[in-house]
């Protein structure tokens, strides 16, 4: 494949101008406007574009962007898979757009969907109870750690430490620290997995939890997970599962069965809800029975005719929101970002058990196929849903910039640090063999190029090399600053 990205500029330096730069119009305040004087302006300069101008403006911007709808996006650990658009249609159904202050009685359908999603996620993760409230994966982590803390405190067992492997996602360290714990960093063993001796040395009566993801960041399954769980439980700690890599296990293995006590689900990675962009997002949290009473408020449960809780939605007379007995409180409003969760619901419902198991099989197959086709060394294996190649003598960041010239998004670079010049690659289950072959061809073409070519890259994209240092040293964080 060859690639040349559209590049709309007015001369050499400036890209497609802002709408306000094209044409704007001064809008006067209405004389009979009832708003208070001290809260209003007399006039305002607003962009004034015709509809075709507007359509072309945004089309041009999208032509100068690269997304998962442009081509493969194997950003490792981020799971940038394509989200099927039917989930958007489901979330756009007006029946789901209910005011959060409506009475339980008047929104039984919504509560039933929420309850079923809690149940499905619980079944998928091997957890006994699930909250949908946290508004993002990292918020889910923080919630999980708050629940952990509340659990220890309820037993008058103050603990001060959370153990996190050094290859973990940065959010793990941050969540533990935000909850007031000291973070103990755990070095990886020579095989890239948890080093049981190092773990034994790190564990103590102060250990509130060990946070792990499995398979880990290198795509390796933690084979000693049952032993790890036993060791953590022996000192009275809890085992936390970071759902970042659940795609590799979906429908085949469950964190709950491995001995994990708390987990969060990255619905944007595993169940095709939109990624980031400032939200709204969702990061449900699952827990074992013993921790259910600490979940955020409110939670949805099924009840019988007498109002007594029943475990199965099929036996329910009604659905009710309630405050778990020793709830950690609210981590977001109401049921969280419900319309995001509805997309996850739709995705799970459409795929069903066989579809989910098929997704994890393809995620693992695709990563292994691509790893076998890539000439760069892949030092650790056997692999699950992602792999970490080494750019060797090349600078991984330069190699990544060059990959853009071949019309593919590059992998995550220079992390985890256990592999030098890391190219952390996760093709996800959505890519076809043909696309994987294109990706491998891009990797291998770049692998053969000299440093000079890499340092010049990218040359075929709308934006060329970004001055990262200047951007960090002189940040412009508001459009107001563009004029300065």
């Amino acid at each position: 494949m060859t690639y040349d990205q559209a590049r709309w500029t007015d001369g050499e330096e400036r890209y497609e101008p802002l709408l306000s730069e094209k044409r704007s119009r001064e809008v006067e305040r209405d004389a009979d406007d009832p708003l208070p004087e001290d809260l209003t302006r007399d006039s305002l300069e607003l962009p004034d574009a015709s509809e075709p101008e507007l359509a072309r403006h945004y089309t041009r911007l999208s032509e100068m962007n690269y997304g998962v709808e442009s081509g493969p996006f194997p950003l490792g650990s981020c799971t940038m898979k394509y989200n099927p658009s039917f989930t958007e249609d489901v979330a756009a159904d007006p029946a789901g757009h209910v005011h959060p202050d409506r009475s339980d009685e008047s929104v039984q359908g919504v509560l039933e969907l929420q309850h079923r999603l809690q149940d499905w996620l619980g079944r998928i993760g091997g957890m006994d109870a699930v909250t949908l409230q946290p508004p993002a994966g990292a918020a889910g982590e923080f919630t999980g750690i708050l629940v952990t803390k509340a659990y220890h405190e309820s037993r008058n067992d103050e603990r001060s430490e959370v153990i996190v492997p050094e290859s973990a996602h940065g959010t793990n360290f941050a969540s533990a620290a935000m909850a007031g714990y000291d973070v103990v960093s755990l070095p990886s063993g020579d095989d890239g997995r948890v080093d049981l001796e190092a773990l034994a040395a790190a564990l103590s009566e102060e250990t509130a939890a060990l946070m792990l993801t499995n398979p880990n960041t290198l795509g390796l399954f933690e084979r000693d997970i049952e032993r790890v769980a036993e060791m953590v439980h022996d000192v009275g700690g809890l085992l936390y599962y970071d759902g970042a890599n659940l795609n590799a296990l979906l429908g085949r293995a469950r964190p709950g069965d491995m001995g994990f006590d708390v987990m969060h689900y990255n619905v944007h990675k595993t169940f095709a809800t939109p990624h980031g962009g400032g939200g709204p997002g969702a990061g449900p949290v699952g827990v074992v029975d013993e921790l259910a009473e600490f979940l955020p408020d409110p939670h949805v449960r099924a009840v019988d005719d007498e109002g007594e809780p029943v475990p199965d939605a099929d036996d329910a007379a009604r659905f009710r929101t309630y405050t778990p007995e020793r709830s950690v409180g609210k981590v977001h409003g109401y049921a969280g970002n419900w319309l995001v969760l509805m997309k996850a619901y739709a995705y799970i419902a459409r795929l069903g058990d066989p579809g989910l198991a098929d997704a994890s099989a393809k995620a693992v197959l695709n990563a292994n196929y691509l790893a076998s086709k890539v000439d760069y060394e892949v030092p650790f294996g056997p692999l699950h849903h992602e792999f970490v190649a080494s750019a060797g003598e090349q600078d991984a960041a330069d190699a990544a910039k060059r990959m853009l010239d071949y019309g593919v998004h590059p992998p995550t670079t220079k992390w985890p640090e256990i592999v030098s010049e890391a190219l952390m690659t996760e093709p996800t289950e959505v890519e076809s063999r043909r696309t994987l072959d294109q990706l491998a061809a891009a990797f291998n073409a770049v692998g053969d190029e000299d440093d000079e070519t890499l340092e010049r890259a990218p040359e075929r994209t709308a934006a060329r090399r970004i001055d990262q240092v200047r951007a960090a040293r002189e940040p412009r964080l508001s459009w107001h600053e563009l004029d300065e």
Binding site: K414, Q468, V469, A472, R473
Partner: protein, 125 residues
């Protein structure tokens, strides 16, 4: 690649240096190379008391954010205010213009636990 490891400094395993002659503290040539372009340095206030091997500040590069550890206990006499606008000095001259803070006094006995220049060179090579 060979890194500068001046003989008149003592070192921490975490790549900070202290120069007993003037009480100045900074990070090593090896550390600035590993970090890449430094974009921000957060330093303590003058007159603050630091504890040996405890965090005294934060350094941010385009690659990573790292804690800075004090080689010694002591009181901060001055900090290098130039780093606020010119964090690149840490890259350009880690043992000179890129210094971070100056202790008001260095007690000879406190240096004992620190690495010599030979020991630090062994660690990074």
């Amino acid at each position: 690649m060979s890194f500068e490891v001046p003989e008149d400094c003592r070192y921490l395993e975490t790549h900070e240096w202290v120069r007993p002659a003037d009480g100045r503290v900074g990070i090593t040539d090896f550390a600035q190379d590993e970090l890449g372009d430094v974009v921000f340095v957060e330093l303590p206030g003058e007159g603050e008391t630091l504890e040996g091997e405890a965090e005294f500040g934060v350094i941010e590069s385009i690659k990573a954010v790292s804690d800075l550890y004090a080689p010694l206990s002591g009181t901060v006499a001055t900090v290098n205010e130039r780093l606020i606008d010119e964090p690149e000095l840490v890259n350009e001259d880690p043992f000179g213009e890129g210094w971070m803070l100056e202790f008001d006094a260095v007690v000879e006995d406190d240096l004992e636990g620190l690495l010599s220049h030979e020991a630090y060179r062994d660690q990074i090579e």
